[in-house]
Amino acid sequence: MERGQFWYNDFMLAFSILAVIGLIFVASMIDISSRDDDVDVLYDEAVSISSSLMSKGYNPGEWSQLDGRVGIVEGSKVNIENLQSFYSLTQGTNPEEEFISTVKPLLGVNNDFAFYFEDKMGSVVSEFSYDFGDGYFGHPSFSGISSLDADNVLFFIRFVYLDADSDGKGEIVKMVVAIWS
């Protein structure tokens, strides 16, 4: 065969390169698809958490017994008493365990989450009429975005009126729900 259409060695080399590229491509597509599914789940749970928090809530005194419904906002205003009831759910002897056994089932979510209030200057609101530490609620070890070490993180924003020091004067703030996996 004087004028061949291809040479066997060249063909095998080209086919091998194509096969490697194809395998890398398929692996990437599977990884992206998997991450998309994870992000979709996070997004749905973030919306669910924010909707629960934005509700009036019911029976806050029994939340520790997994009774009632979590909610901290009524008429666009944050109810500081309900917020204190929620905060106290993870202030026992084992906050991490309390978060897993009480907070997550109350809100019906599987992923870890936290939320905080941010004012128009971009500062986290931490001065309340109750002692809420640094102003972070939810997962006990969350202390800001920099403290997160997760594959996927998602933030969902709502807007509420917050009278943090309960003096009758407040401001419109951003309630940021952070959820991660």
């Binding site: 924010s50 666009s76 128009k120 009126y161 004067k169 401001e171 419109i172």
Partner: protein, 145 residues
């Protein structure tokens, strides 16, 4: 039978070319043909409507709202028992669109990320913060003032 020496295409080259073409098409489909959800924008709009409708002026800490403080000092806002939306409507109906815009800006600036554009309309546009529009969510409510 003598084979034609001038072939139109080479079979294996065509096969490889076709495979590559299909791979590129699939990649384009996955990466570019997707629509993002607009739930965040929806909730932002609804939350602002709720806050403007539920919160009264005398509940605001005026130290944190320069525009509100200025209008109070100038006497442009006389009745602090009105809700935020009622006061915006009153100012607009008096022809003070600039002051109505000042109020909306004072309430929203610093809260919305830069990636979001935002506008507030009462028949005409009162306030707008422009941004590149990839998608648009429009919400409307019947307000009184």
């Amino acid at each position: 039978m003598e084979l034609n020496k001038k072939g139109i295409f080479f079979t294996m080259d065509a096969f490889m070319g076709l495979s590559l073409f299909i791979l590129i098409l699939v990649t384009l489909y996955i990466f570019f043909i997707s629509a993002g959800t607009l739930e965040q924008q929806y909730y932002i709009s609804e939350d602002f409507f709720d806050v403007f409708s539920n919160i009264k002026f005398d509940e605001l800490d005026t130290e944190k709202y320069d525009g509100v403080f200025a209008l109070l000092v100038e006497g442009k806002i006389n009745n602090t028992d009105y809700t935020l939306s009622e006061q915006i409507i009153i100012l607009s109906s008096e022809g003070n669109d600039a002051n109505a815009s000042l109020l909306v800006g004072d309430f929203t600036e610093g809260l919305l990320d830069e990636r979001f554009g935002f506008s507030f309309e009462l028949e005409d546009e009162i306030y707008a913060r422009e941004n590149k529009k990839n998608s648009l969510v429009s919400r409307g409510r019947l307000l009184t003032g």
